[in-house]
């Protein structure tokens, strides 16, 4: 809201090939543009993170991800959309470094870490923040202490961290609740605290795993708007996992549709609607068109997914 309005078309997008329209992708493998040798060996400068043929097989034999390749450009708001079991959360966790990929690589071209430091390198990366589906707050700690946690783990004193913590709380509109305890807050407010905690480290990449799925629709709309405003103002990169077609269209400038069993990318839909997007966008024809397209893609993904 403070920054000048951003338009998807004006921002540097690494993978312009896909921006003309959704591409139907082969059932087994990924889209050709992910497989270009040039893109793989030398990711474009503005690519923040690049997944290259990432597979994940769990100990029980379930293939959560198979050959997932995906470049995320800096500053993008990317949604991973798909039915349950399509591996979207798994992909997010692998990017976060919370689990190793069974095969393939995660690369961070723009940061110092590359090549040798790949699959689990992000585990200690302070540039990444994660928001879980549950608020995941420590019930024994005040709102302030919960938001202070990432800085505390970095070794910052309470005094040194105070401004940052209060700033993050202000961003999510909870500056008056620093001394409250999580149990005193509503579901939406808890999620705001969780977001403030993610923002307090000033991350470059924000990973969100269905953060608003457990909230009522009104609260979700409100948080969608606030999240968009913050994203526009600060320009992080967001990878947002969701079940909701509407949410993904409203928020993101790119939707990755995934199919399940095994989890894979089946479609890559750019959402070329300009930002800022406000409530009117929800009723616009553009929005409806995109929703229809994303819906069809999701249905397609469900058809090629084996039955749950």
């Amino acid at each position: 809201m403070m920054a000048e309005p951003r338009q998807a078309g004006l921002r540097p997008i690494a993978n312009t090939a896909g921006s003309l329209g959704a591409k139907r992708i082969g059932q087994v493998n990924t889209t050709p543009r992910f497989q270009e040798e040039t893109a793989r060996s030398q990711p474009v400068a503005s690519t923040l993170v690049s997944l290259q043929n990432v597979s994940k097989t769990f100990a029980n034999g379930t293939i959560a991800l198979r050959d997932m390749s995906l470049d995320i450009a800096q500053g993008d708001f990317v949604s991973l959309l798909g039915p349950s079991g399509c591996g979207k959360s798994t992909a997010l966790r692998i990017i976060a470094g919370l689990g190793d990929a069974s095969a393939g690589e995660v690369m961070w071209p723009s940061s110092a870490r590359t090549g040798e430091d790949t699959s689990n390198g992000a585990g200690t990366n302070q540039d990444i923040s994660f928001v879980f589906q549950e608020p995941t707050l420590m019930p024994w700690a005040s709102v302030f202490s919960n938001v202070y946690l990432p800085l505390r783990l970095k070794g910052l004193s309470k005094q040194a961290a105070r401004d940052d913590v209060m700033g993050a709380l202000e961003m999510v509109g909870l500056e008056g609740f620093a001394k409250s305890y999580p149990r005193e807050l509503s579901g939406g407010m808890k999620m705001r605290v969780s977001i403030a905690r993610a923002l307090v480290t000033k991350p470059k990449l924000l990973l969100m795993d269905e953060p608003f799925a457990a909230l009522d629709e009104i609260t979700r709309f409100k948080l969608n708007n606030d999240l968009l405003h913050l994203w526009e103002a600060f320009g992080w990169t967001v990878i947002f996992v969701t079940h909701s077609v509407f949410e993904s269209v409203y928020l993101s400038n790119r939707i990755i549709v995934m199919a399940a069993r095994p989890g894979r990318v089946v479609e890559d839909i750019p959402i070329d609607a300009p930002y800022p997007r406000e409530e009117e966008f929800r009723t616009s024809d553009t929005y409806n068109d995109f929703c229809r397209r994303a819906s069809q893609a999701l249905h397609g993904a469900m058809e090629v997914s084996e039955p749950a």
Partner: protein, 294 residues
């Protein structure tokens, strides 16, 4: 108990009826118009008077000899006159109980942390902690008496063994039942094992630990008494349990009751203390210490 239920029920029903029929506000009172807070004190007190009165009446009406069942007054008298004998015994029992509890606390928590941090330590130690716990303390007491340097030490060891386990097992349980997403979060922010322990696992284990402490507090006293029964210490430095037995042998039943009263009082004091500690530590966040708001 039944009385309390009877007193509690009518206003509940009335409130519901009032809400439905818009009959106006019904204050939070029991059927006779007194606030429930007063009833909470009056009812147990009335019960106490009733019990002691019934006891006194029974002894008086049936002319029960005091070496079978002394009247409450006689017990009070014994408590007063025998205080010079009972007070040192009480002190001994208290000392054993609280020392055992303190060592159990420190040892239980330390071992729990070790077990939660190291799988090897857990595999090596936990089965034997269980064995130690499930073996009846009365059965081990004679052995401990042989090995311990003094009777006091033997009593202490017995009380410690009993008090130790609930703290250990509860704390281990608490340390291990940490929310996985929070653990992920700590990992994501590069927390060290030590940080994860201090900032996440320990606070998470606190309610479990306190539940263990409540159990351990009561058990430490019981064990101190049982061990003394088994050990059969005599003379100087003996605790209340010995005075109990001694009074029984001498048919000094009023003193026996007085000693029993002191033991109960100690138990109640421990219970109240651990409950208060638990409440103070958890009142801000844990469900167990919170009032239901509806």
């Amino acid at each position: 108990m039944t009385m309390a239920t009877v007193q509690d029920t009518p206003p509940l029903i009335r409130t519901k009826g009032a809400r439905a029929g818009k009959a106006g506000a019904v204050p939070d009172t029991a059927s006779k118009g007194l606030p429930t807070a007063v009833w909470r004190i009056v009812i147990p007190l009335a019960m106490l008077v009733l019990l002691i009165g019934g006891w006194a009446f029974y002894v008086w009406a049936f002319d029960v000899p005091h070496y079978i069942l002394p009247s409450p007054l006689r017990v009070a008298e014994a408590l007063y006159t025998d205080w010079p004998i009972l007070a040192p015994a009480l002190l001994v029992t208290l000392k054993i109980t609280f020392t055992a509890l303190a060592i159990a606390l420190a040892g239980g928590v330390a071992l729990a942390v070790l077990m939660a941090q190291s799988r090897i330590a857990e595999l090596a130690l936990y089965p034997y902690a269980v064995v130690l716990q499930v073996t009846p303390i009365v059965a081990i007491a004679p052995l401990i008496l042989i090995y311990a340097p003094s009777t006091q030490a033997a009593l202490l060891i017995c009380a410690w063994i009993v008090a130790f386990f609930p703290i250990l097992s509860n704390t281990v349980q608490g340390l291990k039942s940490t929310d996985h997403n929070l653990l992920n979060l700590f990992e994501l922010y590069g927390a060290s094992r030590w940080q994860t322990l201090i900032y996440l696992k320990m606070p998470n284990a606190l309610p479990y630990f306190l539940a263990g402490l409540k159990i351990a507090g009561g058990l430490a006293l019981i064990a101190a008494v049982v061990a003394e029964f088994a050990a059969g210490s005599a003379g100087a430095g003996s605790g209340l349990a010995f005075r109990l037995l001694e009074s029984q042998f001498r048919l000094n039943i009023p003193r026996l009751f007085a000693a029993l009263f002191l033991l109960s009082l100690t138990g109640v004091a421990i219970f109240l203390t651990t409950n208060t500690i638990s409440y103070l530590l958890l009142r801000k966040w844990h469900e167990s210490a919170l009032k239901r708001e509806n």
